[in-house]
Subunit: 332 residues, 4 copies
């Protein structure tokens, strides 16, 4: 880590800061230029409170030379991680298509969709049992019953299931779930991250609406630090000033994360745009820039069918998309 | 609620949508113009999934005429809420100054600061026991022991205490805490909101880094819906493109929230800017535009003292600021 | 246009507003619901100041049913526009690859690059003569001399040239330029837009760093309204909170603009990311989601060559990318 | 300037970069640490293309120790600049209130408002003659005639006038205008900045909707670099994800700019919020945090009067606000 001091820092202030670093077990390599002073910090700087150091009035800036994340870093693990989910692989050239309805509604709904998406090439099933809802008065999901229906659909189709966890106290209900999803709003719910880290099942970690890639990796590090290496990262759109789409899909997150980390990176185009017509082109873009998978909403319920709309695809649209994705992936 | 249909919607599509609304127990008032069709929805639309309706291909837009929040709304409760915290009032003309260190470190540190800020006019004590940290390797706070130290400081000074809760499973440790803080990162941790709603203690709810005022009120509604009316809202800066300050203090949130809700609104200028020099002017701005209180970091530790910096004020700076705030508040 | 009034609007206020609309030549269709009142405005509402109406205290919201842009709209021109640039077509299935150096530096530099990119499949040449620079002390480009060098490179290679205009007073220098670029910072320089509209040459209009798609189309409308239909839209990244990349490429702008307008839409991945390694995956994503072209920086100067870096590609990297793009475009 | 190299940079790459810096006339001070290499650059680095250096693959980051702006910097000019506008001073403790209608409409309208705001304490008159409009079909202002009306109002009231310039070719019409406003959309119209720099009149420079404070100062530097020291900076709201207000007023820009520069800083609360009710609290916040002035829209036209709304204040509201501002300013 490098700390650059402001030009008008006195020697006394500088030496006090150096002494303080030493009390933290950090050695300091001093480099004085004509206009600047740089402190090179050597030792374990992970427990340092960077924002405290940055906010000191004599400090111009603090630069980490090594990233604050370790186990997530591509440097410490140059090869792509490949995660095995009950036989379905993701990462390192293995492409996963996770499809299913937004919410689990009934056995019939779920099984019908699961069978259709499997035929079209999906290799995992998604469906919301616990639903994070902005309004306390809105439907909060079938909860435990929803998980039961997902398990039945797995029994029929063999597709591993992915579903969202909203509170660590619900973990006992997730013992047969294949992949535990941590939603965007909980990306920095650090106590929850520790618990899914201890639980040991593969985790699909969604990027928060206003979180940087660095913060996403720090949240993944919370899980890996508990001994659970099976984390899948998911880009699902960030919040910007643009209102034509619900969120702005940050597609460059895919190759950028591939530079930074060995963990697989997938894209959720359904939540990013909120518009069904944009799901196919965004899925194709994600595949073309090297994503390790997609998570796509597919429905068969009448209000959607009627209007040919919403953010979910019909099974027919999904089938057509799957074929195009396969063509695009021949580039790799 | 009003649903505007797109110009090219067929009668059949329109009638299907109207039928669907009826199955949801909602009556529809149809208004057909030369270029547009408007559906006026009458009945309890709170359980409707607005984003689903919005995303239908025939729908141009959905407008709520009444807000989605009820108990928070100024319309349903025209007078300012006044919250009594062990004798200290906030709201309705009562101004609260909550001061204290960022983290609880030791009994001596906390008591010294508590006594100093009380002398200068603070009427509540803040201090972090459970610390949300981006890095799993960073100090996570004194946790339960920190709460013990806060309670001792309260015993000595009489100042009610405010401290952050990170997980519902820690609630038993908070039984003697006066105000439970829900941090920005947990603003949409809906399960946590339900639990603090049930717990019944006053809640200080911080706005998330990328959450709208509407979403902040919906999160407050989660707490009120559990029968707990004692919610204090806190603006603490939002995430924008500007990097000169850590976050951008959205000062217009104060008068805007006062239009929307009866709940008290305070400002945390320390976290918003991350720079000590900006804390006094931002505090004065907050007081001048009608905030119901301030939450300010004050420290006495050597690294800060040395550098006259960081985001915390010294007790002397805090004392000076308190006097200016008092002058500004004579405008009201 | 629809104006929704607030629930507590009095009849007198409503009638005054209706009278005012009538003085503006607009007929009003009144629809009164139990909770809301909707005014349907009929007639030419284009000259109405929407932000004025929106800001009235009795107005809840204003919705345009028809878009504020006309000539740009897909509704008024359902087929894709195809623009012919000295024989090179763009739009309606015709894909353009515009490549070249960031700045024009010398005849040798430009000709070498132009010949290399032509071999690899580029069909237009880009190069900055007038350079918008944040600092007044930075190199401002070769200006008129740069345009001369571009024209020489065109003579040698036959590639039509694209270069940026910064002020209408420079237009006489652009009489032989094939495509006039209006940069992101000038997207809402309305006087400049009028002048390039009158000048008549094809215009490449870049989206501003913080402009919505709607605003981009309104700026295009300024050009079309002067009788110049040859506008190419360019997504080049927007400003968000993320700092890992220089800007955030808003890839969903491509299919979204294709819904809204008939004008061709290209992507500039070099400026969006600011990182050479991201240019190929972002280019491939753009091609996969249906962009009508790409604008890519290619260099051969020693500092870049040395470091294998910057935001420009080497001719070899560009050649490799062109082949992948061709494969991806077989999907269409 | 400091350049930090990435850990895996080879000596050969490093030496090539050092050689290149030398060809640019810059001396390099090399500092090699165990994990990092820092190049301290000595000499005139103003003409260096920082974004080019930053984008090199071997470069981790580039830090300017001295700011890229010179004449604007508080370091080079520690005392506040005081600008004299036909006898009205701004900066260094002198507070300016600039009030008037959004657009100049008629002689009667302008004179009536001018007289009223003068009585209430305004010391400059604003009014739009050239209007930047998103739509080409919207009213573009009275243009030259509007300036004539402003000059007549000055004659009657003695208030110096402020009005917006949209294109350098209109400058001859501005020869008797007291302060030339450069609007947010033209903040980085560098050719325009050069021309108003040469013209010599005081300039009111508005911050762009998505521009950083650093960029605002670089744009001011364009004007100062032409020998014109009379620049007033104006914060008018930035574009963020929040939609409750039209823009987000970045109030911390005021004290932050006062740290960075000696130029006066004013606030435009009318454009920032777009809501009349927010103008008084935002004005009071601006005054309380040390702004050097305010720019406020005041109207007397019937549609506004009727609805008691819009973003403009009535003369009565403005009068009440002026008194409160005076009280708040007693703190200083």
């Amino acid at each position: 880590m490098i700390t650059v001091l402001k030009p008008n820092t006195t020697e006394q202030q500088r030496d006090h800061l150096i002494s303080w670093f030493k009390t933290q077990g950090i050695e300091v390599h001093l480099s004085v230029g004509s206009e600047y002073t740089v402190l090179g910090l050597v030792g374990d700087t992970n427990h340092l409170d960077v924002s405290l150091v940055e906010s000191l009035s004599i400090v111009d800036s603090v630069k980490r030379v090594s990233e604050p994340y370790k186990q997530c870093s591509r440097k410490f693990h140059p090869d792509d991680s490949v995660i095995d989910i009950d036989g379905v692989k993701i990462g390192g050239g293995n492409f996963a298509i996770i499809a299913g309805p937004c919410s689990v509604e009934s056995e019939e709904q779920l099984t019908t969709i699961a069978e259709r998406v499997k035929e079209s090439g999906a290799n995992m099933l998604r469906g919301g049992a616990f639903k994070p809802r902005t309004s306390p008065y809105a439907f909060q999901g079938l909860r435990g019953d929803g998980i039961e229906l997902l398990l039945k659909a797995k029994e029929k189709t063999g597709l591993p299931i992915v579903t969202e966890l909203m509170d660590a106290s619900h973990l006992p209900l997730f013992k047969d779930v294949d992949v535990i999803q941590v939603g965007a709003r909980n990306m920095q719910n650090f106590e929850l991250l520790k618990e899914v880290g201890k639980f040991g099942k593969p985790v699909l970690l969604k990027r928060g609406l206003a979180n940087t890639l660095n913060e996403l990796l720090m949240s993944a590090e919370y899980i890996l630090a508990q001994g659970n290496p099976n984390v899948i990262l998911c880009e699902r759109g960030i919040r910007t000033f643009e209102t034509a789409t619900r969120n702005t899909l940050d597609i460059s997150a895919v190759p950028m994360l591939h530079e930074m980390t060995h963990l697989p990176v997938i894209v959720d185009p359904s939540h990013a745009s909120g518009i069904a017509k944009l799901v196919p082109p965004m899925s194709m873009a994600a595949a073309a820039c090297g994503a390790d998978g997609l998570m796509i909403e597919v429905h068969n319920d009448p209000i959607n069918a009627l209007c040919d709309g919403a953010q979910s695809l019909t099974p027919e649209q999904f089938d057509d998309l799957s074929k195009k994705i396969a063509t695009i992936r021949t580039v790799f």
